[in-house]
Amino acid sequence: MRIRRRQFIQAGIAGAALLTLARWIDRPVSAAPAAYRFLDARGVKSVGALVPVVLAGALPADEEARRAAVADVVAAFDRAVAGLSIPVQQEMGELFSFLHTAPLRVAVAGLWSPLEESTPQQIGEFLLRWRDSPFALQRASYRALTQLIQAAWYGNSTSWAAIGYPGPPAVG
C-alpha cells in the first residue's frame, strides 16, 4: 500500500512537470474558431476524431446526417466545458495540451499520431488503456472525455428517436 502510494506521488510530480512542459510547447498555433469558447482549432479536430469512436453504433448511418451530428456534438462538448469551473477548464486545457504535444502524447497516451490521424481502432485502444490505467488522473481523463461526448449527444434531440425516448411531455 505504502509503495503504491509513493509511486503514485512520483507519477503525480512527473505528471506536473510534463504538464508544465506541454503548456510551454503547446503555444497556440491557430486562433480559436469564433463560435467556440473553449476549444481551439486543434481541439476541434481532436474531439471530432474522438466522437465517432465514443459514439460508434449511436450516430446516424447516413453520411451527411452523421457529419452534422459529429459537428453538433463537438459544439456541445465545447459549450459544456465552458460551463465548468475555471480550475476544471484549466485542467481540460492541460489534457488537450498533452494530446497535442507529440512526445507526451506518445509517452502517456500511446498514440503515435495525432488523434485526427489515428485510426478508430487506435483511438479505442487508447481510451481503454486510460480506462484501466493504474493512474487515477488517466482514469479521470478517460471518464471526462467519454462522458462529455455522451452528454453532448444524448442531450441532442436528434439522438432520441433511435433510443426510443419520446422527448418531454407536453404541459399546459
Partner: protein, 529 residues
C-alpha cells in the same frame, strides 16, 4: 390551459429582485438579516425571519428561473440550474456531486423525497456527538410544521415501473420497503423534478417560502456569489459579493456590499464552509470544512423484459431501509435503496463504456431500470468524511476519499441491487462500474461483482447530498456552531443548512434541513426582535 408562473407574477407585482449579473454599478444594501443561499436552509430561514417582521436580503449564486423556463430538457437544465453544469466533482474526480445552483437551490431540482431524520441518526447525535437538544423526538414538532408547510405526505399514486421493480424485488426477497413521502401539490406525475417542476407542483423553496418572504418585502439578489464576510473582532460587519456571468463560471466586475445586524449562512455543505474559509473566520479547533459527508451513491442498471420508461412518473416513490436497519452503526456500512430516473443524458453518462457496447445499452433505453444505493457515512470511526478546501481562484474543492469500510459497502450494495433486480425479473444486470459487464443471472452477477476492483474511478459514484463541514456541537471544541446554528466565535453569524449535521443523515436530507433551519430561525428571530 397555461401554467401560472408565481415568480413572474410576483415580479410583475413589484417584488424587490436584483439580477447581479446585469448590474451596471456597484450595489450597497443595509438590512436586519442577510441570508446567503436560497435552498432548503435559506428558504425556510428567509420566510421565518421575514414573518417575524425583520428586514431580509437573500443572496443567491444561481439564477432566478421559474416554471416558464423549466422546459424539461437536460441540456438546458443542467448548466442553468446545477453547480458546475452538474459536473461538480471531488478533487480526485471520483465522485460526481449534483448540487442545485439556482433560486430554491437543491429544492428546485431535487426528486422530492422527504424523510424525517432517522431516529437512530438523532440518537447517535445525542449519545456520541453530545448534542443535548437534537436527539430523537426533539425535532418532531419542527418536522410536523414543515411537513404541513410543504405538503409533505406519502405518495399515494402507484409507483412508476422503475420504482415498482424495486418494490417487487424487495417483496420477493422479504426486504422491508415502503412508499416515499413527497413535497408535492397537484403533481401530474411527469417525472422531470430534476429539471425544475414545469407546473409548480413541487413545493420547493422557489414556490413556497421565497415568494412568501418576497411578498413581505424581503429583497432577493440573484446571480451573486458571496466572496467573503468582512470580520472585525467577534463580529461580521459586511458581506461582499460579486455578480456571476452567464454560465456561472466567471465573476463580473460589479461588487455588492451588504451590511446587516445578523448573517445567516445557508450556502450548503460545500458553499458555507468555503465562505468561512475565504473570510478567515476564526477556527481555533480546525473544524471548518472538515467531516463533510456525501452519502456516496452507487448504481445498478438492469434490462427488463418489459418497458420501464424510467423518465416518466415520480422519480423516487419506493425505498428500502433493509440494509440500513439491519446494519449496526459500528458494524459494516449500511445503505439505503431507492430508484433513479432515466433521462437520456443521465442514462448516457451513467452507463459505463463507449462505442458499440454503450450504444447497445442505449438501444434498450426504454427497458432500462435503475436502482441506487446511498451509503451511510460518518458514523463509523473509519468514515471521517471529506474536507472542503479552496482552489487558487477561491472556488471550493472537496477532497473526499473512500475508506476501505465504504468500499466493502459498495460491493455489498452492488450485490444487493443485482439480487433485487433479478428477483423482479431482470434479463440483464450491470453494476455501474468501468470493469463490469452485463450479467445474465444472479449467480453470474455474484461471481462478477466479487471480482470487481474496488477503487476510485472504477466504480462510478455520485452524490446528491452534501452534509457536514460546519458541524453542530455541544461546545466549541467539537462544533463550529451550537445547536441553534450560532457560530461559536462570531456573535452575529449563524449557519442554517445541511453543513451543520455532525454525520450524514442516512436518508435524503431535505426535511432534516427544513426542520433544523425552522428551529434555528425561530430562535434567532427572538434574539433580533
Amino acid at each position: 390551459m397555461a401554467v401560472r408562473d408565481p415568480i413572474r407574477e410576483g415580479l410583475a407585482a413589484g417584488w424587490k429582485v436584483t439580477d447581479a449579473a446585469t448590474l451596471e454599478r456597484d450595489l450597497e444594501l443595509e438590512t436586519d438579516v442577510v441570508v446567503i443561499g436560497s435552498g432548503a436552509g435559506g428558504g425556510v430561514s428567509a420566510e421565518s425571519l421575514a414573518a417575524a417582521g425583520l428586514d431580509v436580503v437573500i443572496v443567491e449564486e444561481g439564477p432566478l428561473a421559474s416554471s416558464t423556463d423549466f422546459r424539461m430538457r437536460e441540456r438546458e437544465a443542467y448548466p442553468q440550474l446545477y453547480q458546475e453544469s452538474s459536473a461538480r466533482q471531488t478533487t480526485d474526480k471520483s465522485i460526481t456531486i449534483l448540487q442545485g445552483r439556482c433560486v430554491g437551490g437543491g429544492t428546485t431540482v431535487n426528486w422530492t423525497s422527504s424523510f424525517r431524520t432517522p431516529a437512530r441518526t438523532l440518537a447517535y447525535w445525542k449519545e456520541t456527538a453530545g448534542l443535548k437538544r437534537t436527539g430523537a423526538h426533539d425535532l418532531d414538532p419542527w418536522f410536523a410544521r414543515m411537513e404541513e408547510r410543504l405538503a409533505i405526505a406519502p405518495w399515494a399514486v402507484a409507483p412508476n415501473e422503475n420504482n415498482d421493480v424495486l418494490r417487487r424485488g424487495c417483496a420477493k426477497l422479504g426486504y422491508a420497503h415502503g412508499a416515499i413521502a413527497r413535497n408535492v401539490k397537484g403533481c401530474a406525475n411527469l417525472g422531470y423534478c430534476g429539471m425544475g417542476c414545469p407546473i409548480n407542483a413541487k413545493q420547493s423553496m422557489l414556490v413556497t417560502t421565497i415568494p412568501a418572504a418576497l411578498s413581505r418585502g424581503a429583497r432577493l439578489v440573484h446571480r451573486a456569489r458571496v466572496t467573503r464576510l468582512v470580520i472585525e473582532g467577534d463580529r461580521v460587519v459586511a458581506c461582499e459579493a460579486a455578480g456571476v456571468a452567464g454560465n456561472g463560471a466567471k465573476p463580473t466586475d460589479t461588487r455588492i456590499r451588504i451590511r446587516a445586524r445578523h448573517y445567516v449562512l445557508a450556502a450548503g455543505g460545500i458553499g458555507s464552509p468555503a465562505i468561512l474559509i475565504r473570510s478567515d473566520a476564526p477556527d481555533p479547533n480546525g473544524l471548518t470544512g472538515r467531516r463533510t459527508f456525501l452519502h456516496p451513491t452507487v448504481i445498478s442498471a438492469a434490462v427488463m423484459p418489459q418497458r420501464v420508461d424510467g423518465h416518466a412518473g415520480a422519480p423516487q416513490s419506493i425505498y428500502s431501509d433493509h440494509f440500513i436497519e439491519n446494519a449496526p452503526l459500528d458494524g459494516r456500512a449500511g445503505f439505503k435503496l431507492e430508484s433513479g430516473p432515466t433521462h437520456p443524458v443521465l442514462t448516457g453518462i451513467t452507463l459505463p463504456g463507449f462505442g458499440e457496447d454503450h450504444a447497445g445499452w442505449m438501444k434498450k433505453f426504454p427497458n432500462v431500470q435503475v436502482v441506487i444505493a446511498l451509503l451511510r457515512d460518518g458514523f463509523h470511526r473509519e468514515s471521517r468524511g471529506g474536507r472542503v478546501m479552496l482552489a487558487s481562484d477561491g472556488t471550493p474543492m472537496l477532497d473526499y476519499s473512500m475508506p476501505a469500510y465504504l468500499w466493502e459497502g459498495v460491493r455489498r450494495a452492488y450485490l444487493a441491487m443485482a439480487e433485487i433486480q433479478f428477483a423482479a425479473g431482470a434479463q440483464t444486470v450491470m453494476p455501474v462500474h468501468e470493469n463490469a459487464k452485463g450479467y445474465a443471472n444472479w449467480k453470474e452477477a455474484r461471481d462478477g461483482i466479487d471480482a470487481l476492483p474496488m477503487r476510485a474511478l472504477a466504480a462510478r459514484i455520485v452524490s446528491a447530498h452534501v452534509m457536514g463541514g460546519c458541524a453542530m456541537g455541544p461546545e466549541e471544541r467539537t462544533g463550529v456552531v451550537d445547536e441553534d446554528g450560532r457560530h461559536y466565535h462570531l456573535r452575529n453569524l449563524s449557519v442554517h443548512d445541511g453543513s451543520v449535521f455532525p454525520t450524514s443523515i442516512a436518508a435524503n436530507p431535505q426535511l432534516s434541513i427544513y426542520a433544523l433551519a425552522a428551529r434555528s430561525s425561530a430562535a434567532l428571530a427572538k434574539t433580533l426582535r
